[in-house]
Amino acid sequence: MLRFVVRRLALLVPILLGLSILLFLWVRALPGGPAEALLGERATPEAVERVRRLYGLDRPWYEQYFTWVGNLLRGDLGVSTRTQHPVLEELLRTFPATMELALTAMIFAVGVGIPLGYFAARRHGSWLDHLSVAGSLFGITIPVFFLGYMLKFVFAEKLGILPTDGRQDPLLDVVHPTGFYVLDGLVSGNLEAFADAFQHLILPGIALGTIPLAIVVRITRASVLDVLHEDYVRTAEAKGLKPATIRGRHVLRNAMLPIITIIGLQVGLLLGGAVLTETVFAFPGFGKFIADSIMARDYAVLQGFILFTAVVFVLVNLLVDIAYGLIDPRVRVA
């Protein structure tokens, strides 16, 4: 297992190297540049030239690339031209927000999706089954921003039980040592802040979790249906095993493999940021920050953030593979 993990981590090196070159060229291929974006409509050719020189953008690209990689190896991701803050600082500020949101969305998707998919399969053809199929179609097709508005309209505007935006009530006096607001509430022993941060996650978590939820329901349902018709399930029933044992040990466990793959992929995607949800709920996360940086042609941020996303994606997939090994002995042997 250790060798497997090390091998996978070693694979990161060529992936990141290739990606870094592609990224570097790609961000520079965007029309316009940081100077034009910074100066907006008041960008005279002279002003653009001055800003370009200031940020070293007038040098050949390979020179810029090697400087960047050199700084990267020293842990320096550069400075955002848009916000004038170090990229690493921006990463540490926005990533915890996105991670909290992604986890909430996944807890919602998995917590509701697996039981729903499982019972839909068990009662194949029943009203619950039809409802779950129709519901998951609905979940996939409904635009996130619309769902976000509707959730806010009902729960914030009309019922007034949940907040509309942000990560914390601005009137609360809270310190944020870790940047994970829910955790910060717990760490500082401020239960009001903890509950408040938690409430701020509910609506965006549901809005963001709807598509993964729909996918998890469908995959669970299909996978459980497959397994239910396997010979070993019939054998287990014939042996007179308790239904609970058959469900837990034979059906769910075997059905979990494709579900875990999907969960892994979804977590990777969600951690890459959720521009729409973050925008609608004014949630200061990773995805929104990248989107704004694209508009501002903020090269250092784009390069740093996307590379970071790649690392996260690879790590999440690694975790999925390890989970395979734990659940399925055949994978371990292979």
């Binding site: 029309p31 316009g32 034009e36 974006a37 907006g40 409509e41 008041r42 960008a43 002003a47 001055r50 020189r53 940020y55 070293g56 400087t67 960047w68 320096d76 550069g78 400075v79 031209t81 004038q84 803050h85 500020r93 927000a97 807890i107 919602f108 917590g111 697996i114 039981p115 806010k152 309209f153 729960f155 914030a156 505007e157 007034g160 039980i161 949940l162 907040p163 509309t164 935006d165 942000g166 990560r167 009530d169 601005p170 009137l171 944020h176 009001e192 509950a195 408040d196 938690f198 409430q199 509910i202 044992t245 837990g248 040990r249 466990r253 925008t279 609608v280 709920f281 004014a282 200061p284």
Partner: protein, 557 residues
């Protein structure tokens, strides 16, 4: 096997438990969002939804509205704009005199003013600020950093780029504790209005030094300010003091109880960034914020019906069709006049702009001082346009018409939509139109600035309340964008910029507007207001057309 069977069920149980906790937390929430703190605290705390975080709180280093909205509360300028208008009014300076040659400004300062750090505000502090700006080096000379100094004062003590001009700043002297003499290297009367810009606010020299406002670190490729003046310790003389800032979350100001003027009614202001206008409107309706700027005209009705106050700011922008006289056809005045008559500007504004938008007749908004309508106007008339084309001697006049993509501005909400309407108008008058569209930045701006678009769509958002910021920007000297030389127009605008007497200046700008209208270098067609919204209980908000709002007058009932 059994060993592995349990964790799965255990996991499911944990997940179910978590879902239960989430829903309990939701139901156990307070009756109203934002009401977690006591009502008493909310009573004097004003929560404002901004569209983004400020870029930096050092006024010298910002040129965006989100930053100045905050620094306008913390800092003050020597002079400011009069309430609700664009004229110049006293602020830290109680009076001023301009010399005959418009090269020396003498300001009499208010006495007994203190910075938030307890330092005394006096003539020496004012000069220290001017000297700081003038002596900027490196990163601080970047247009993206010290934009307004470069725009107004043109250059620095030691210009690090040959594209910067000779500085207009000629020195600052503290005549006595309360008298400042500001010298210019060339006559300029527009500088006074420019000094109302929040970028020229006076900061505590001690705080600038203590918190290393101008210290630049990082690498050569990625320079950055390492000081904390602009992020953690902005110190001015304003009615509010900086308290804290968590980017992406909130920025807090508290009342300055030692303020020299009338003290603020609010005890605290909290700015909360919410990017989209529709989301800000929703937050206001849900009661989690008290007010916001830049409301979407589409939301105005729903806001009004929810009992929200909608506040209109007079237009301070202007959309125009420009002509580049690099091409022969545009050098023909009859053709330019024909275009002006052919465009149904009323229809464009009615169809493509929101509530409160108006037809623009001059190259400056009608809210700006010196505006009168004593100049030639070009009414919509297809017949007149046809007649002028016939008189022009151009047999089949063809216009290359450039418009941008990927941009929306208050003065140009939907460029492609404007283009469609104008194209139809021009064709009806007998022009042939060749459309040419390109992305706003950098392509479109580059081609129009180079004068390579015979007919182009552009506009201008005003920076400060002076006609020089509009007419002077466009027509004071030759520019390739317009590619014409008209000495009488250049001269009257130069004279107006240098005339120290306000009444004479007004007269000169009236003349300029008349000359420009007669020459038709382009067709101004739209000016549009912006809207702010505030909860029912917000009182005393005095919106400024140039966004120079100070929240000290606001109270919550």
């Amino acid at each position: 096997m059994r060993r592995n069977g349990m964790p799965l069920r255990g996991t499911l149980a944990v997940i179910a438990g978590t879902v239960l906790i989430i829903s309990t937390a939701a139901c156990g929430g307070d009756a109203e969002p934002g009401a977690t703190a006591t009502d008493a605290a909310k009573g004097s705390t004003f929560i404002f939804a901004s569209s983004a975080d400020p870029s930096i709180l050092d006024p010298a280093y910002h040129s965006d509205g989100e930053s100045s909205r905050v620094t306008n509360q913390i800092f003050e300028t020597l002079v400011t704009t009069e309430k609700g208008g664009t004229g110049v009014a006293p602020s830290l300076a109680e009076s001023w005199e301009v010399s005959e040659d418009a090269k020396t400004y003498t300001f009499k300062l208010h006495q007994g003013v203190k910075f938030h750090d307890g330092e005394v505000f006096n003539a020496a502090a004012v000069c220290a600020n001017f000297e700081r700006w003038y002596n900027f080096t490196g990163l601080s000379q970047s247009d993206s950093v010290s934009y307004y100094w470069v725009t107004v004062f043109r250059g620095f003590a030691k210009n690090e780029s040959d594209t910067l001009g000779k500085s207009l700043y000629g020195g600052c002297a503290a005549k006595d504790d309360n008298t400042v003499e500001l010298k210019l290297t060339e006559p300029s009367a527009a500088v006074l209005s420019a000094l109302t810009l929040s970028s020229f606010a006076i900061a505590s020299p001690k705080a600038l030094k203590d918190y290393k406002a101008d210290e630049v670190g990082g690498t050569a490729e990625s320079p950055l300010f390492t000081g904390t003046f602009g992020t953690e310790h902005p110190v001015g003389t304003g009615p509010f003091k900086f308290a804290s800032w968590t980017r992406g979350d909130k920025l807090e100001l508290v009342r300055n109880d030692d303020y020299w003027g009338e003290k603020a009614k609010l005890s605290k202001i909290i700015y909360r960034p919410i990017e989209k206008a529709a989301d800000r409107a929703q937050a206001l309706r849900a009661g989690s914020v008290h007010a916001f700027d830049y409301a979407d005209p589409a939301d105005l009705e729903s806001l009004k019906s929810a009992g929200v106050q909608v506040i209109e700011r007079a237009p301070f922008n202007m959309g125009y069709l420009g002509f580049s006289q690099k091409t022969k056809i545009m050098q023909n005045q009859k053709i330019r006049q024909a275009i002006a008559h052919a465009i149904n500007r009323e229809n464009v504004v009615k169809t493509k702009y929101g509530a409160g938008a108006k037809v623009a007749n001059a190259f400056m908004p009608d809210s700006l001082w010196s505006y009168t309508e004593d100049f030639a106007k070009y009414d919509y008339s297809v017949d007149k346009a046809k007649q002028l084309i016939a008189e022009s001697g151009e047999a089949n006049p063809t216009l290359e018409f450039c418009y941008p993509s990927g941009v929306s501005r208050a003065y140009m909400v939907d460029p492609a939509g404007n283009f469609q309407l104008m194209k139809a108008d021009l064709e009806a008058a007998g022009f042939k139109v060749n459309p040419k569209t390109s992305p706003w930045s950098p392509d479109y701006l580059n081609t129009t600035q180079a004068g390579d678009c015979p007919l182009f769509m552009l506009g201008w958002n005003g920076d400060f309340g002076d006609p020089d910021n509009f007419l002077g920007t466009f027509f004071q000297s030759f520019s390739s964008q317009w590619s014409f030389k008209n000495e009488p127009i250049f001269k009257v605008l130069n004279d107006a910029e240098q005339e120290p007497d306000q009444a004479k200046r007004e007269e000169l700008y009236k003349q300029a507007n008349a000359l420009i209208a007669e020459f038709v270098p382009g067709v101004p067609y739209a000016q549009s207001p912006s809207f702010s919204a505030a909860a029912k209980n917000v009182q005393g908000w005095e919106p400024s057309p140039v966004l120079n709002d100070v929240f000290a007058t606001i109270s919550l009932s």
